[in-house]
């Protein structure tokens, strides 16, 4: 209270001082004191405003800003009124906030206890509160204050299961902002918090970007609790730990670190916790903000964490001994550590026969190589190394290129850039004209350009094959990296031929060798060779052969399955 009075005095002072002078110096002084923006100051120094009377509007604004920026301390007290006023001041001009004042019956003759329930309209389940908080409280009489206190705090006789109380108003304020309700009454300094948050959220839908033919189709949503429940349903052990971090000064976003204790290396968990604790951003909204701060090499083109929006992928990763980070309001999860080969694996692989899957994986690797190399190879061969290609192919290519007025490098660049532009545009096109644009794209870029003599048909084929090849990589961020790397390689091929491509590939490969994802090398198990883990890289060994976990799991948990998962085959032999 005294502080509030002091605050008022201060305000009076500033108002008085503003009334006193219209000289710019004093105003600018005040501006400096109050950290006004430059624009505001400019407005201030406008002579028109200065002349408009001795009580200028601006000084009122300044005073108000000054008032609002003062952090008024919360005083813990038994009384209701000061606390209520503090909350009202904190939530001044927040229109959704509801202060529900009521009084609890104290019996005949005694003064009723004043109580208040504070909640945020739209995020609070009012029905629940009315049934489970207000009704029991208002339905009976509490003859003494101790009876009420005991009812609420000692005996927990309110018909709700999850409630907690705090002494500090700042924590209560935080809870209110998360959709909880705060309740306090005259006579006790504690504030009860009810977790009846209810807000509209998206239901669980199919994963838009990671579709499979055979397998579950659930995807994460923005609500953190739902996401966690999706994972919990798949890993039903108490060893699945979920640690909460709140990041962001203004956003207070909840970030959850999930791992399987006993399988995940403790050093990894420690490292993740360490890195998360360093994040001190003002507002954390997107998961990529966290990712860039957690990554070992943020400057690299290759992301070092794996993204997915499917709970089954996350569960599989957790079972392997990795950690997963989920964030509120993000339907994505990040998995670390991630190697390049994990991003080349698709969920489809594990739902199909292992022979077919191995073949598809090999095709995937081949085409990812094509997506980065094919245009450069074409440019290098046609510009520098025409002796390498067979004669008939050379004649076909040369005759196709007769009509093109550009050199090979320029032609390739034009085609590739148009393709990228088309791809980017198609993301933003409304659904209804999407079909038309794709047809136009195909016609214009494909047929008409060739017939007009701007590009050669061989180039169109190469660009299309490259485009298709770049879509074949399951991890979208990895395919994006390869797409971007195509351009420097094309430049190198145009300057130095195959020697340039070789230099470029060596540089890229060296860079990838140096990348680490939470301490795990980016190209393992290929780069630091680990033959045991290679079973899941190029081919997919059948499940009964995938006996051990990858190298980054805890060493004493290497075995994933028992040795005789298929022991019944032997028994059959014995019987016969």
């Amino acid at each position: 209270m005294s502080d509030k009075q002091n605050g008022k005095d201060m305000n009076n002072e500033t108002a008085a001082s503003s009334k006193q002078g219209e000289n710019g110096a004093q105003h600018s002084q005040q501006a400096e004191q109050q950290n006004q923006s430059v624009g505001y100051q400019g407005l201030q120094s406008n002579p028109q405003y200065q002349q408009s009377g001795n009580h200028s509007q601006l000084s009122d604004y300044e005073a108000e800003a000054a008032r609002n920026q003062q952090e008024i301390e919360y005083i813990m007290t038994d009384e209701l009124q000061p606390r209520l006023e503090w909350f009202e001041q904190q939530f001044d001009r927040c229109s959704e906030l509801v202060f529900h004042n009521f009084s609890i019956n104290a019996g005949i003759g005694a003064r009723d206890y004043n109580a208040v329930l504070i909640y945020m309209n739209g995020m609070f389940d009012i029905d629940q509160a009315e049934h489970h908080v207000l009704r029991p409280l208002l339905g009976r009489t509490f003859y003494t204050r101790q009876e009420l206190t005991q009812y609420l705090y000692r005996l927990h006789q309110l018909p709700i299961t999850e409630m907690k109380w705090v002494e500090d108003g700042v924590e209560a304020r935080k809870s209110i902002l998360q959709g909880h309700g705060a309740f306090f009454f005259d006579g006790d300094s504690r504030i009860l918090l009810f977790p009846f948050s209810k807000f509209e959220k998206r239901g669980i839908e199919e994963a838009p970007n990671e579709t499979v033919i055979r397998g579950p189709r659930e995807a994460f949503v923005e609500d953190l609790q739902t996401n966690l429940s999706l994972i919990r349903r798949r890993i039903k052990t108490h060893l699945l730990k979920t640690e909460v971090f709140e990041l962001g000064e203004y956003t207070s976003s909840k970030v959850i670190l999930t791992y399987l204790e006993g399988v995940c290396k403790p050093s990894l968990i420690h490292e993740a916790r360490n890195r998360l604790s360093y994040i001190n951003d003002a507002g954390v909204i997107a998961a990529t903000q966290i990712e860039e701060m957690l990554a070992d090499n943020p400057h690299s083109l290759f992301t070092q964490m794996q993204h997915t929006e499917r709970p089954d992928v996350v569960s599989a990763a957790i079972l392997e001994g990795r950690i997963a980070i989920l964030m509120e309001n993000t339907p994505d999860s990040m998995i670390a550590p991630a190697t390049m080969f994990m991003k080349m694996q698709s969920l489809e692989d594990y739902n199909q026969n292992f022979i077919a899957t191995s073949f598809i994986r090999i095709v995937r690797f081949l085409f990812s190589f094509i997506s980065i190399m094919l245009p450069s190879f074409y440019i290098a061969v046609t510009t520098f190394h025409a002796e390498m290609i067979p004669f008939n192919l050379l004649i076909s290519v040369a005759s196709a290129r007769e009509i093109v007025p550009f050199p090979a490098l320029l032609e390739a660049f034009i085609m590739e850039i148009s393709f990228e532009a088309l791809r980017e545009a198609s993301v933003r096109i409304p659904k209804y004209i999407g079909q038309t644009v794709s047809i136009i794209g195909a016609l214009i870029i494909g047929t008409a350009a060739v017939q007009a003599g701007i590009v050669s048909s061989a180039m169109v084929i190469i660009v299309s094959v490259t485009g298709i090849a770049s879509f074949i990589i399951p991890g979208f961020d990895l395919s994006l990296s390869f797409r971007l790397l195509r351009f420097p390689l094309m430049l190198l091929a145009g300057f130095l031929g195959i020697f340039g491509i070789a230099c470029g590939l060596i540089l890229i490969y060296t860079h990838m060798l140096n990348l680490k994802s939470f301490g795990v090398p980016y190209l393992s198990p290929w780069a630091p060779s680990s033959y045991g883990s290679m079973k899941d890289v190029l081919i997919r060994a059948p499940w009964w052969k995938l006996k051990s976990r990858p190298t980054f799991a805890l060493s004493n948990q290497k075995k994933r399955q028992a040795d005789d998962n298929r022991g019944w085959t032997q028994k059959e032999g014995d019987q016969s």
């Binding site: 004669f391 008939n392 005759s399 007769e402 090979a408």
Partner: protein, 396 residues
């Protein structure tokens, strides 16, 4: 940041964007024809005219435009002629795709060593360029021929080499040995006329037949016939397919065969003061048609047939070898075997190797024939019919 900029600036010096050559600024020579005229060496470059090939036209004749062009010039030396031809071309001649050189008879007789020297010395002409010759004026014959079975003449020649239809002699084969450098057999391209030839009824088309013997880079008489060329091919392990017929040892009727050389063992030994080169080509033979009463199901008859075929092959090979040896041209480079096994003796006779080869060296050729497949039936259908009759007769 500044370091990065500096590095990038310096890297600009490394770029080779000024050494890139556009595909369409180059003329890819696919066949070189070298002739000798009164004025000197006449060089003809054959190259595909890609500007006449329409886009989307997968190789057919487009509106009668010429798809292959020959550019020819005469000068005193090969290089001067090349310079003159380049002066005619609107694009820079690129020999990287060239695999064939055709010599005319006149030039062959005057010596092809300049071309061999050119190929071996610089990287423009490959060492494994195939050599052909034409018994006549090469430029006229080649340019007037119509190319029917393939898209370009060069493709036909490449396919001949690939299928081992004609003998393959590369520049390297001629210069591989110092002592017998310039000795070799170069296959002859025959240009057949309307009445007889590869594609009957059209203008002259290209075909294979025979070979020319070169000694020290010069063509010498006689020219080998196609049969003798096949013999020479079998010594060089290039006879992939050969159809022939041999009289059967039982009744003298012909039996048709198809054979493939699978292996040739060449070694040199010394017997009774004479050096023998022993050549053992191994063939696998299969029976194509059986017009005699020989019964291949019986081992002795098969063995007799094999011996007969061996005799046949030996005769042909020995005849070929003797013709070649008489000329003194060591086309199979036996001096390499000699120098490897008997270096001291070789050093003594090195200076007169060709004479030694002609007079003193004995070449023993012994064929090894394996009759692999005797056909679907082991007896001629006539014989089967006959024996069935006999059986009927005996039963009755």
């Amino acid at each position: 940041m500044r370091k990065l900029l500096l590095i990038l600036l310096f890297m600009l010096l490394l770029t080779g964007c000024w050494s890139s050559q556009e595909l369409n600024d180059q003329a890819f020579v696919s066949v070189i024809i070298v002739d000798k005229t009164e004025e000197g060496v006449e060089v003809t470059l054959g190259l595909p005219l890609t500007n006449n090939m329409a886009v989307g036209d997968a190789g057919g004749q487009s509106l009668g435009n010429q798809q292959f062009g020959f550019f020819s010039r005469t000068a005193t030396t090969f290089e001067d002629a090349l310079q003159k031809v380049q002066g005619d071309l609107s694009r820079k001649a690129n020999f990287g795709q060239n695999r064939n050189i055709i010599f005319g008879r006149a030039y062959a007789e005057s010596g092809i060593s300049p071309i061999l020297e050119f190929s071996s010395n610089n990287p423009f002409l490959r060492l494994n360029t195939n050599l052909f010759m034409v018994d006549g004026y090469a430029k006229d014959e080649v340019t007037k021929a119509t190319v029917v079975s393939e898209r370009f003449l060069a493709t036909i020649l490449n396919k001949y080499i690939e299928q081992q239809t004609s003998m393959q002699t590369t520049v390297r084969d001629l210069i591989i040995s110092n002592t017998s450098g310039g000795d070799g057999l170069i296959p002859i391209l025959k240009f057949s006329q309307i009445s007889e030839g590869a594609v009957v009824g059209t203008a002259s088309t290209v075909g294979t037949g025979g070979a020319g013997i070169f000694r020290n880079g010069k063509l010498i008489e006689p020219l080998l016939t196609p049969e003798q060329t096949s013999g020479a091919k079998s010594i060089r392990n290039q006879l992939r397919q050969y159809y022939y017929s041999v009289a059967s040892p039982t009744d003298g009727n012909t039996v048709g065969f198809y054979s493939t050389i699978v292996n040739v063992k060449t070694r040199i030994t010394r017997k009774e003061n004479k050096y023998h080169v022993i050549v053992n080509p191994t063939s696998e033979v299969l029976v194509l048609s059986n017009n005699s009463n020989i019964d291949f199901s019986q081992y002795e008859q098969t063995r007799m047939m094999e011996k007969k075929i061996e005799e046949f092959g030996d005769n042909m090979l020995r005849e070929t070898m003797s013709i070649i040896q008489q000329t003194g041209a060591d086309v199979f480079h036996f001096d390499r075997y000699f120098s490897a096994k008997y270096p001291r003796e070789f050093n003594k006779i090195q200076a007169d190797w060709r004479e030694f080869y002609r007079d003193q060296l004995v070449v023993d050729i012994k064929n090894v024939i394996n009759l692999r497949r005797k056909g679907s039936v082991v007896r001629s259908f006539r014989n089967k019919h006959q024996s069935a009759h006999e059986k009927e007769g005996s039963e009755q």
